[in-house]
């Protein structure tokens, strides 16, 4: 039987509306053979977690350009734990200064891809780390 495609929820949390990055990454993941569900803009963390459950995704990718990545990721990771979704792979992309990387990793965000990251790196990270791989 053919292996199930990796399912990714690509989300734009918060009020930031800059979605060029999210859209190009969505297209790149799709070209790499993944199933991508794009949430659209202005999502609350709760609604992202909900969609992750409903869509039964393996990966949650967040795109954040406003600088609010720490409060947003912290809230998301908390909610994921509460709901027992610890097995989901979480990655974040956007305007992420180097100094925030350890904080994000400490929360359990495994993949951090600042603007300009290569599609290949993102794709191979997911292929390696997605649950069940």
């Amino acid at each position: 039987m053919e292996k199930r495609k990796i399912r990714v929820l690509l989300a734009k949390p918060g009020l930031d509306g800059h979605d060029r990055g999210a859209k190009v990454v969505a297209l790149a993941m799709r070209e790499a053979g993944m199933e991508v569900i794009y949430t659209g803009l202005h999502q609350t963390v709760a609604s992202i977690v909900n969609q992750a459950v409903q869509e039964d995704v393996d990966v949650i990718g967040l795109s954040i350009m406003s600088g609010a990545h720490i409060p947003i990721c912290s809230k998301l990771m908390g909610m994921i734990k509460e709901q027992g979704l610890d097995n989901k792979l979480v990655a974040v992309g956007g305007v992420i200064p180097n100094k925030d990387v350890p904080t994000l990793k400490g929360m359990g965000v495994q993949g951090i891809f600042p603007g300009g990251s290569y599609f290949n790196d993102i794709v191979s990270f997911i292929e390696t780390h997605a649950p069940g791989r």
């Binding site: 969505a26 991508v36 609350t44 406003s66």
Partner: protein, 542 residues
């Protein structure tokens, strides 16, 4: 190589150059090229200040008037923003360009659940007139013009600007504000939308109609090709989409029984500079010419001044890189040169730290100095449209004109910009272009210095303008205090009147001014519209 496709031979010689707009550049241009395009000075250029204004909208260009510089500013609290405004003015900046935080842009009060973590982060938090009173304190609002970078609730912010000015004793007829107020580009490219397309466009029509009658020095709408270009479209598409958006707003007001001639002179544009230098200059020359011609042919506009393509041509953030950020200082200088060669009336630059944050003081000042060096030191004010007559530039300007019209035609066939955006066509097209471009960067087909070529070197950490949680607390405290102190009966009454006006499709602007003066909050006013209009839903574009 650069922001065009370059095809090379084995010896590293360039065989072919294809600009982003799809135009091939020849290695050498001669008088034959001008003959081939049927170049006619009077028809294609005209003198500076004369139809079709290809060369300039002013007969003497920068000689008679230096450009206005408007670096994007606005931080955290109104107090801090006020300080930065004054600092930039003291350094010679001649206009303000106000950044609002996301909750304000999205019509949420600072204590709204949706605002959590975002208050004062990417700009100034504004909850009520009280915040404007602090931010614009001691600024001469009859002399300094303000760009207000706000769209979904631009009507609210324009009303608030009038209210603060009147409170300070200025006449509404002497103030000059340019709210961005372009919701269609938000839907395509920047994402700060709230209401569905139809009522959102109507709100823009309201501000245009109101400004025409009450705020003669205000430019109620600044049509932004800029953000669509930032989102990935080509330079020619940028102008095509901007013009099609402008037509959508014009049509809304014309449908109210006005002639375009009466109001279109107050339109301005916000257009982008990054990428190939020649393509950029040709883009602006073609755009000035086409705008004048289209307004005349399509809407019968005759008044010369109403045919001017005025606006801010600014250095785009997309050209800036996170890697080797100091390279962005040089990039910014070349973008500024492009702006000057293009005859920009107003300009701004993304600062070298823009890939990380809203500019720090040091970075904003460097951008300002870049402009001053161009104009005051090396001669960009000397003569109008210095590239005119160049075999290459005139050929390219003509080709850009054709490309712009081609793209406009596609949107026209769909029934105009409102339809093309509502269906998701433009968003899809822009997303596709962005993806293709990014792939070329990643494969090295397009060179980005310090990113995919010449990557050796010190990668410096930029100093960031740190976000301070205290701002949010301060702002929320002030908001709560305001809600207790103001005359809440007057607030409710003004909001009720606003609701009635929105329901009856009356022009909401006078009602918004009343609300602002009663110290109703941005969130309260925006929610009145949310209740009446509902909220926009994105079409699936994948």
């Amino acid at each position: 190589m650069g922001v065009a496709t370059y095809i090379k031979d084995k010896k590293d010689a360039i065989k072919e150059v294809i600009l982003q707009s799809g135009i091939k550049v020849k290695p050498v241009y001669t008088p034959d090229d001008l003959e081939e395009i049927g170049f006619d000075y009077q028809k294609d250029l005209g003198d500076a200040g004369e139809f079709p204004f290809t060369r300039s909208i002013h007969p003497l260009g920068f000689r008679s008037r230096n450009w206005t510089t408007r670096q994007y500013t606005g931080f955290g609290t109104p107090e801090e923003t006020n300080e930065r405004f004054k600092l930039m003015i003291s350094h010679g900046q001649t206009g303000l360009n106000v950044a609002f935080d996301l909750p304000t842009q999205m019509g949420y009060d600072s204590d709204d659940e949706m605002a959590e973590g975002e208050v004062g982060r990417v700009g100034m938090a504004v909850d009520s007139l009280r915040d404007f009173e602090i931010a614009f304190k001691d600024i001469q609002l009859n002399r300094i013009g303000s760009g207000l970078t706000i769209n979904a609730v631009a009507s609210v912010m324009l009303a608030m600007y009038q209210s603060v000015a009147e409170g300070f004793g200025y006449q509404k007829t002497e103030i000059s504000a340019t709210p961005q107020n372009d919701i269609l580009k938000e839907i395509v490219g920047r994402g700060a939308w709230i209401y569905p397309v139809e009522p959102a466009v109507r709100l823009i029509g309201d501000t245009i109609e109101y400004a025409m009658k009450e705020l003669p020095r205000c430019n109620p709408v600044s049509v932004c090709g800029y953000h669509i270009r930032e989102s990935g479209c080509t330079p020619s598409q940028e102008i095509s989409y901007a013009f099609m958006i402008a037509f959508a707003y014009i049509d809304n007001v014309v449908a109210r029984g006005y002639r375009a001639e009466e109001f279109v002179g107050s339109f301005s544009f916000n257009l982008n500079i990054y990428g190939n230098l020649w393509e950029t200059v040709a883009k602006f020359r073609a755009a000035r010419k086409l705008w004048a011609k289209l307004l005349r042919d399509r809407y019968g506009v005759q008044d010369k001044k109403a045919l001017f393509l005025r606006g801010i041509f600014g250095g785009g953030g997309s050209g800036m890189t996170k890697q080797q950020p100091e390279n962005n200082i040089m990039r910014g200088a070349y973008y500024a040169l492009a702006a000057a060669l293009s005859g920009a009336q107003t300009t701004a630059l993304c600062s070298f730290d823009e890939a990380y944050t809203i500019p720090t003081e040091r970075a904003a000042l460097l951008s300002l100095r870049t402009f001053q060096i161009l104009m005051d030191e090396i001669g960009l004010r000397d003569t109008v449209d210095p590239l005119a007559g160049s075999y290459f530039m005139e050929t390219l300007t003509k080709q850009m004109e054709e490309k712009i019209l081609e793209e406009m035609e596609k949107v026209e066939k769909m029934g105009g910009m409102v339809e093309a955006v509502a269906s998701g066509y433009v968003q899809r097209e822009v997303g596709r272009q962005a993806y293709e471009f990014e792939k070329k960067i990643q494969s090295g087909e397009i060179t980005k210095v310090g990113v995919n070529k010449y990557t050796e070197g010190v990668d410096m950490e930029v100093e960031l303008h740190e976000y301070n949680d205290e701002w949010a607390k301060l702002q929320i405290d002030r908001l709560r205090k305001l809600r207790q102190e103001r005359d809440n009966t007057a607030v409710s009454r003004s909001l009720k009147a606003l609701e009635q006006a929105a329901l009856k499709k009356e022009n909401v602007m006078p009602y918004l001014v009343d609300c602002c003066k009663a110290y109703a909050t941005v969130g309260e006013m925006a929610n009145v519209f949310r209740d009446v209009f509902g909220e926009y839903r994105e079409p699936g574009i994948f």
